[in-house]
Structures are given as C-alpha cells and as structure tokens.
C-alpha cells in the first residue's frame, strides 16, 4: 500500500479510511502530476459504453505534442480478444499519440465480465490487453511506453448481470 496523498475532492478523501494508492484508471500516469491529473473517474456506472478514463484530465506534460485521445476504452466480444474493427481508429489514434510523445507511458488495463473463475479471468484480461499491445507495436510504438495490468473481473465498470452489463465490462482501458 502506498500512502501517496491523492488530490481528489475532499469528500472522496474523507470517505476512505485511509487515503491511499492509485486509482486504477485515469489517475496513474507515470511521472506523476501533482493534482493536475485529478481523475474524474468514479463515473463508471454511466452505462454509456464509455466507461472509465473518459473524463480524466488531459494531463499534458511539457514538450508533448497533441492531446491524449479522448476515447480510452475499447470493448470486446464474449470470450474474444479480437480487436473489433470499429475500435481500430481508436487504437491508431493512441498509437500516433504515443509515437509522437516518446516520454508518454500508458498502462493497458485488461478486464473481463464476471462469468467464469477469477484467476482464469485475470489471464483472459491479460490476453485482451496483449492484443492491444500487439496492435500498438505493429504501429511502431516502443514497448517501453506501455505496461499491461489485467484486473480480470475485479474492477467491473458496471455492476449487475446480463449481456448489456457484460458487454461494458469486457474492455481494455488506456490509463495514462
């Protein structure tokens, strides 16, 4: 546990027994930012198919060119790690951003729906994140710029059961 003070809103801070650690999405940029990447997450139950990471601060560092692409979550079919064609432009945008900003780093968070056993789902989530990694590598992004963390089913974007819920939870999130 890192006791890293975290500049979220005071209300959120007070609601925790201890203020600690990195939120998994939106606020974990390496080369940390004192408060500017204040992570407007906690919005992951909006059900818009635009789960976490979307409202993060832009977290621009000096010398970076362009903005981090707005869409930072892509979704997967059941039991699949295939990149759906509709999300290829999203990945291309991230690839371009990372290529243009050699110091930028991103954590690729792999997630699954709740079905099946937990450690197996951790492995499935990693497989999805690796599919994204391969895509980025082919586009010329340096492997040193990304890291994979699979959460499996441990951090659902949306709670509950049923295909609508599952579809929003089978995802890879770009966490800058």
């Amino acid at each position: 546990m890192q006791f890293k003070p975290y500049a979220k809103s005071l209300a959120v801070a007070l609601s925790f027994a201890f203020v600690a650690g990195c939120a998994s999405s939106g606020g974990t940029q390496d080369g940390a930012l004192d408060g500017t990447a204040g992570s407007g997450t906690g919005t992951s139950t909006t059900g818009q198919g635009m789960a976490s990471g979307q409202q993060s601060g832009t977290a621009m560092q000096a010398g970076q060119q362009g903005r981090i692409p707005d869409v930072r979550t892509i979704y997967f079919d059941f039991d699949s790690d295939q990149i759906r064609s509709e999300f290829q432009p999203v990945l291309t945008a991230h690839a371009r951003y990372l290529s243009n900003n050699g110091n930028a780093k991103v954590v690729l968070e792999g997630h699954t729906d709740e079905r099946g056993t937990r450690e197996y789902n951790v492995a499935l989530g990693e497989r999805r994140a690796k599919a994204v990694e391969r895509f980025l590598t082919v586009q010329g992004v340096s492997p040193s710029q990304f890291e994979i963390v699979s959460y499996g089913e441990e951090r659902p974007a949306v709670r509950g059961h049923g295909e609508d819920t599952y579809a929003q939870n089978r995802r890879v999130v770009f966490s800058y």
Binding site: A20, G21, T45, G116, T117, Y120, A123, V149
Partner: protein, 430 residues
C-alpha cells in the same frame, strides 16, 4: 531485508487503521433428507449466571449446518435433563431422536466449566462425556469443540467446526470500491480484517499449518503475491514480476507455493521454494495455465488450461513432468481443488449458461454438479472433506455458499452489506 521491514510496517499500519468487522450470517437453503435426528437440550447453567453464548444453540447450529444432522426444535423437547443419570431414553425414542446431548455450565475461577454428554438413544448408552474449562471469550470456541467431538463420535469423521474461513469483501463501485481480506470462524462469526485496500485482493490461500495466508493484492497498482503471518500481521512480498502474479497454492508440506506467472509471456505454472525464493517453471505453451492445486500427497498439481481451445483441468505429474487432461464433461471446467482424500476434485463446471460447483471422481471420471446456482466461483474444501464453500450471487450481491460433498445440503453466508467472495477454508487448526 530492509524492503521486507518496510512491507511489514505497512501491514501493521493497515491493521491499526482497520477496525471494521464483516461477520457473515448463515441461511440454511437446503437440508438433507438423510439427516440424523438429534436432540440437544439447552445446557443447565449454575445459579443465575447469564452466559455470553447459548452453548447448546451453537452446537445445534453447527450440526445442522453440516447437513448430516437434523436437531430437534426446542419446543419438541419433552424434558430438559442435564446429566445422563436423569435421562429417560424412552422419552427420546418417542420423539424419534437417534442421539441426545445434555450438559451443564458451572462457574470455575473467573471462567466456566462446561460439561457435556452424548447419548445413544436406541442403544441406551453414553458415547462421550467430557469436562472443558472455558472463559467468556472462549465459550463459543468451546461449543465448536463439543460439536467436533459429537460429529466425530457419530460419523467417524473428524469435525471441522473449529476451523476458519478467509474471504474477500468489496463495497462501493467504480473507483471508490474498497476491498477487505477477512478471517472468520467457519460459521462466519468473529471476523477480523487482515488487509484493507482500494485495489483488488484475491486468491487467499492458507498455509497447511494454518499460520499464514498467501494472497494476491493489487495495492501497488500491479498484482503481487504476499505471504502474511496471521498472528503477528507481518508479511513479505513473495513475487512482483511484470504481468500476472496469481493463484498461489501451498504445497502440502508448506515449503512451496505453486502460482501462475506471465513474466515470460503467457501465464504459466511455476513453483516457488518459499525459503530459498527460487522458482521452477512447470508448463511451457502458448495457452493460459493458471489456478494450480496440489494433490494431498504432493505428487501432482492440477491446473486450468485452455491449451485445447477451452478451459479444462490438467494434471502435472511432478516426478515425470508429464501433463494429462483430466476433465472431459462440457466445454468449461476450471479451478479444481482436491478433496482431502485425493480421490475426487471439486471444480467450477459450465453446463449451459450456468457456472456451478461440481465434483469429479478421479477414478471413474464421472462429474456431478452439486449446486443449482448460476454464477459460482472459487470452491474451497473443508479439511475433513464434508463440505465445499464457494462464492456465488444472490440478487446483485456476491455471497458465500456452502454445499455438502454429496450435494444434499447447502447454506449461504451473506455479508451484512457489500459483496463477499473468494472463500478459503482453513486446515485443521488444533
């Protein structure tokens, strides 16, 4: 060394911060039609002492939960003897009770002296009788001890009522989820927080001597396997490789941890020598290999792999290094756990759209589904093999369930609030 010291300190700080309790309650969902009737008479209490626990009720709840006993309701008790010499066996045959438990609680020093007797109603004989010294804090434990003795005297199998369970809770949603790792008595009471985090915790695993838990925590933002001493709350980080650090499983001698690591590409099964901190890689292929479980004799490790295109259980023979597939029923079988006698496996089986706890006989290969729920996970077997505890869903909440090894009896252990999951049944602790 300094690094471990820091980690220990961190764990202790967390314990100071952690006051929360997360006791679970028991809801019997299905009683067995073959349960043995037994009468448990409320224990006579010396003088006007008020006791912190109703000893006979704790014993009754324990035995009922096992699915193997049907305790008579207190209304149907004809008389309330507290010693065998005052028992009229005919009375108890009249209410069809096979067995009778009577007892007394007397003051002894600053504590109690608890006396109990187990009587065979049809044989008209005393099977057990014992005095136990106890005190206010231990009274519930004393009742579990008596349940263990009764269970073993009647079934011939060691009782597991004095054991514990570890489990993970979560509350909140989105980025405000708070996770807790708890240890409680096997009946869900006396819960104690072991770790609190705003990042996921999973896969708690008891060391065979019951003194340590290995588990996976994402508290640094990356998964790592930790080993925590339960008495002292000291802990070490066992692994924190790039990628997956998951599914720790202790060898029966407690010297090794099997686990799944993806540091070399795909998730593979490794065995770590805990003292030497050295690693041996067991599997090597392009598929997922995870969820290892040691056979009780330490000769095999069963694990989940999708090397055949779908998750199935495979067995790794430690002497030869040979791997063979062992599940063939359906297209999803995962997270196998050996029964203590090594003759069967408990696992999660998908039939249709349901993920359910199943038992597979290792000799015949026959697989039997034990539950009728939809989203079961994480089966963990009681050390006497009588029951399996698992995680499942009730409405939109994660709850623990337990089912007898024959599937006849089941109960649920919901948390007062939030979700509970990832149960791990302790070994025998005494």
């Amino acid at each position: 060394m300094k690094r471990y010291l820091t980690l220990w300190l961190g764990a202790m700080l967390m314990l100071i911060a952690a006051q929360a309790q997360a006791d679970l309650t028991i809801e019997i969902t299905r009683g067995s039609d073959r349960a043995t009737p037994i009468a448990i008479v409320p224990f006579a209490v010396e003088g006007d002492m008020s006791l912190p626990q109703d000893v006979a009720q704790v014993i009754s709840d324990d035995l009922e939960r096992s699915g193997q006993f049907a305790p008579l309701s207190r209304d149907s008790l004809i008389s309330r003897p507290s010693r065998s010499e005052n028992v009229n066996y005919r009375d108890w045959r009249a209410v069809d009770s096979d067995y009778l438990v009577v007892g007394e609680v007397a003051q002894e020093g600053g504590g109690y002296r608890v006396q109990f007797e187990l009587l065979d109603v049809y044989g008209e004989r005393r099977m057990l009788g014992e005095y136990i010294s106890s005190n206010t804090e231990q009274l519930r434990r004393t009742a579990h001890y008596i349940s263990d003795k009764i269970y073993e005297a009647i079934t011939g199998v060691r009782g597991a009522f004095s054991t514990k369970i570890a489990y993970v809770t979560s509350q909140g949603s989105g980025d405000d989820i708070r996770y807790g790792l708890y240890v409680a008595d096997a009946d869900g009471r006396n819960s104690e927080e072991i770790l609190a985090s705003n990042q996921p915790i999973l896969s708690p695993a008891w060391s065979p001597d019951g003194t340590k838990l290995a588990y996976v925590s994402f508290e640094t933002g990356r998964p790592a396997i930790y080993i925590q001493e339960l008495g002292s709350s000291r802990r070490v980080r066992a692994t924190s490789f790039p990628g997956i650090n998951g599914a720790p499983a202790w060898s029966p001698d407690g010297r090794k941890l099997a686990m799944s690591l993806s540091k070399d590409g795909q998730p593979e099964i490794y065995v770590m020598d805990v003292a030497a901190r050295s690693f041996q890689r067991l599997t090597n292929n392009s598929a997922i290999d995870t969820e290892p479980s040691w056979s009780p004799d330490g000769n095999n490790i069963v694990f989940t792999s999708d090397r055949g295109g779908e998750p199935q259980l495979y067995r790794y023979d430690i002497a030869s290094g040979q791997v063979e597939r062992i599940t063939f029923t359906g297209n999803y079988n995962s997270r196998g756990r050996y029964a203590p006698d090594g003759e069967s496996l408990f696992l999660i089986h998908r039939g249709g759209n349901e993920y359910q706890v199943a038992r597979q006989d290792l000799d015949t290969g026959r697989l039997v589904t034990l539950t009728d729920s939809r989203w079961d996970e994480s089966p963990s077997v009681a050390p006497n093999g009588s029951m399996v505890i698992f995680a499942t869903q009730q409405g939109n909440s994660g709850v623990l369930g337990a089912v007898s090894a024959d599937g006849r009896a089941s109960f649920r252990l919901p948390a007062a609030q939030g979700d509970v999951r990832e149960p791990a049944w302790s070994p025998f602790l005494n």
